[in-house]
Symmetry: C2
Subunit: 474 residues, 2 copies
């Protein structure tokens, strides 16, 4: 009813007292940003498809129980939907848990093997830092290989995919690699009580930002770990060696090698590196015992790709193997074992990549439309003639626009064509109409060689423009 | 911590008591459905770009105040986020109101003109009918032209875009057209009190599902309209004539033509039809005085595209002109007039289109991956040799896969290749490896002409496959 009143009496509208903004931690993306984003998504999708990836879609919100108990302390950052009668739902926090839920719901044998990618929004009620691009609504971009395969083969392909993706967006990087079973082996061998392993692991994960002394203090003073245990951990996680030397060092560590998990983890890493050699990405990877990764659900190799200094150092992709997550949803089989599906995956920090790509561009130079031809009239408006021309162009599959006015000024038409970075103009005046001609002008060349443009018979317009457009766009 | 225990003692996991499902009214889309959906989105995007469209992105949730008072009675269907401290937010109900909010926030003159499209999810707590595809989370697909242009030129392009889109997805249709000012003029001339116009209009909107007698009953008995007023309305909205005759009939109606709005509306429709003639879509459009459209915010032409009988009759796209919506957000200028931006747009019923496309396909025939080549070994596994081959293919930009096992059975490799509908296989055995050869087989041809396939030097593999792939995919 308010609208009807507005409609009939626009002059009576008083300014409303709401705030004209997007919610905290969210933002709009304008057409130029979206052109860059979509180009980025397409580039990544191509790499994902090169590796046999297929995509699925899951709802933006899930049953609350599906998400609970998956994210440790960060569960407090989950957005809940209001109780409006009905089910308790929450916005998804990542794409991995919904994917595991999806796999568990596919009863059939078919779905037990899947290379799936997904580029979609996730939600976290974190303290936003808009200037650093830390938002509450952001895209994640995941590739995961689900299925029981042979050791380290899917893991190697995932790291290859990570590398191919970074190469495709031209971001220099290296990969820190570790293995949960090596890490847990170290903690056990050093004497960490089993129930403290995840919490001590979380402390180690801070070593990329804090010096060892601070991390040790957290372990000993906050978490009550014995100092000698902490010191032994420090000896491991502070080891700085090239990967072959580090592998040899661990291999020679009889106490650690007597730990079944650590020994298996080391064999995994060695085999993985062999495969990565074949995939031409071995030299991108560095074994780093201080990499721990926050999420609880990893069970095998873990990794993090870091940009090189040229782009400001920071994590740009990460992932790992999580063999038990699907089992949390799919229950147990008759023998009482969880019907799990082993998985390994990577999440590309696509928002970070987007920021880097934007920082390389002058926003004014970004063309946001795909228009190839602008139809311009000289003189008396010629609206219907311009409409006939765009109609011909559209029917021929050419992306064409014109000024949606009866009698647009010539100057304004030129300006629109230039502002929208449209490469070709079709120009008509009374003379051209009467003699059955059109003028075609290449708007990209600033030199005056072409004078008023190429004059040709109307019937040849489409074939000539198709030639020009093909050259300009491909 | 639960996860750590699961990790260490998987056999102890007891079946959880949560429901393994997606929330009511939502669903997953598997990889085959997604292949069809993405193809559909790409097809529509191409049409939108042909008409100069650019895209933007807005958050999935908005400040609650932005949405309130925009959807009449349907506001009760809006999903709210829980109050977790902070702002009151709700999931978006459509893409139009967020677009109007976006436009109002762009202060600059630049954003006053925009052809924008958006294909994104919206949310409605409606009673879902999954079998009919009525969901609580679904995609909308909108194209809108914002800006002060000359009469009916953008409106004509919007109807052209609607038509081009339906043609691109090969769905036969026709368009019902009406004009809010003609309709409101009819109501006023018939004697409907101003404050009842929207409510009577909502009753008329039911004429596509109910007979006139029922609609009249609603007007008279439920809404208290005088019976003679209802009868006069009935004389108008039941008029069945071809469009030129109907236009003539209204033109001859002196009482109606004395109404300023109705007379302007009629002039609009006539001009629009002239333009649609030039755009070759005039014969798709039929003036229909019984079309009212539910939403409050329309101010000019309104339309609805209906599928022809072959696809089961139903609305497949709809829209109209809404000149005052942006003004509701942008406040007033110094003269006290709302700083509005006139808009006209169309929403393609993309979920309905998707259902029609799926009903035309056998789901098993849908190829969900983009893989072009499958690498197969005969004999002893040859894992590293297969890895070297896929690596070569990937580096050449060819989409390639292989079985992620050490010693896969030949049969299983063929099966994977067939199931994933991969057109070409590269086959190696010990003999080929030793003699520096590979075999290429076209998996699409069932005849045995090719025997064991084409044997060629390893160094010629890429160029031969590129040729074959180009032929197969383009």
């Amino acid at each position: 009813m308010a609208l009807l009143l507005l409609d009939l009496h626009p002059e009576k509208k008083s300014k409303s007292n709401f705030q004209l903004k997007t919610p905290k931690g969210t933002r709009d993306y304008n057409e130029k940003e979206m052109a860059v984003r979509q180009n980025l998504f397409n580039t990544i999708t191509k790499i994902f498809q090169r590796h046999g990836g297929v995509t699925i879609d899951t709802p933006v919100f899930e049953m609350r129980d599906i998400l609970s108990g998956k994210y440790g302390e960060d569960s407090k950052l989950i957005y809940d939907l209001a109780d409006q009668g009905g089910e308790d739902c929450s916005l998804r926090y990542d794409l991995t848990v919904p994917f595991a839920r999806y796999l568990a719901m596919q009863g059939k044998k078919d779905a037990q093997q899947m290379k799936r990618y997904q580029i979609a929004k996730v939600y976290r009620r974190d303290q936003p830092i808009m200037t650093k691009g830390r938002l509450r609504e952001f895209y994640q971009c995941d590739f995961d290989i689900a299925g029981a395969y042979d050791s380290m083969i899917p893991d190697a392909e995932i790291l290859k995919i990570l590398s191919d993706t970074m190469d495709a967006v031209k971001i220099p990087f290296h990969i820190k690699l570790n293995h949960r079973q090596i890490l847990d082996g170290i903690f056990e061998v050093c004497g960490v009580p089993p129930q403290q392993i995840r919490s001590i692991s979380a402390a180690v994960d801070k070593l990329d930002k804090l010096p060892w002394e601070d991390v040790k203090k957290e372990m000993v003073q906050e978490k009550g770990l014995a100092e000698d245990v902490a010191n032994r951990i420090g000896d491991y996680v502070q080891l700085v060696k090239d990967t072959p030397s580090l592998l040899q060092h661990l291999q020679n560590d009889q106490k650690l090698m007597a730990h079944e998990g650590a020994s298996k983890g080391l064999a995994d890493v060695k085999l993985l590196l062999e495969f990565l050699e074949i995939f031409n990405v071995r030299d991108r990877v560095k074994l780093d015992l201080s990499l721990a990764r926050g999420l609880d659900y990893y069970t095998g190799i873990i990794y993090e790709a870091i940009t090189d200094k040229s782009e400001g150092v920071g994590s740009i992709a990460a992932g790992g193997r999580y063999d038990n997550l699907v089992g949390m949803f799919s229950g147990t089989n008759k023998a009482g074992k969880p019907k799990t599906i082993p998985c390994v995956g990577v999440s590309i920090g696509v928002e970070r990549v987007f920021s880097i790509l934007m920082s390389r561009r002058n926003i004014n130079d970004i063309k946001s439309n795909a228009t190839q031809v602008y139809v311009i009239s000289v003189g008396d408006g010629l609206l219907k003639e311009r409409m006939e021309l765009v109609q011909e162009l559209w029917d021929a599959g050419i992306n064409a626009s014109f000024t949606l006015k009866n009698k647009p000024k010539l100057e304004k038409q030129w300006l629109a064509c230039e502002k929208e970075q449209i490469p070709f103009a079709v120009i008509v005046g009374k003379d051209e109409i009467e003699s059955g001609k059109v003028r075609i002008k290449d708007m990209r060349s600033k030199n005056s060689d072409q004078g008023g443009g190429l004059v040709l018979d109307r019937k040849d317009m489409i074939s000539e423009l198709k030639k020009k457009v093909d050259q300009a766009f491909y």
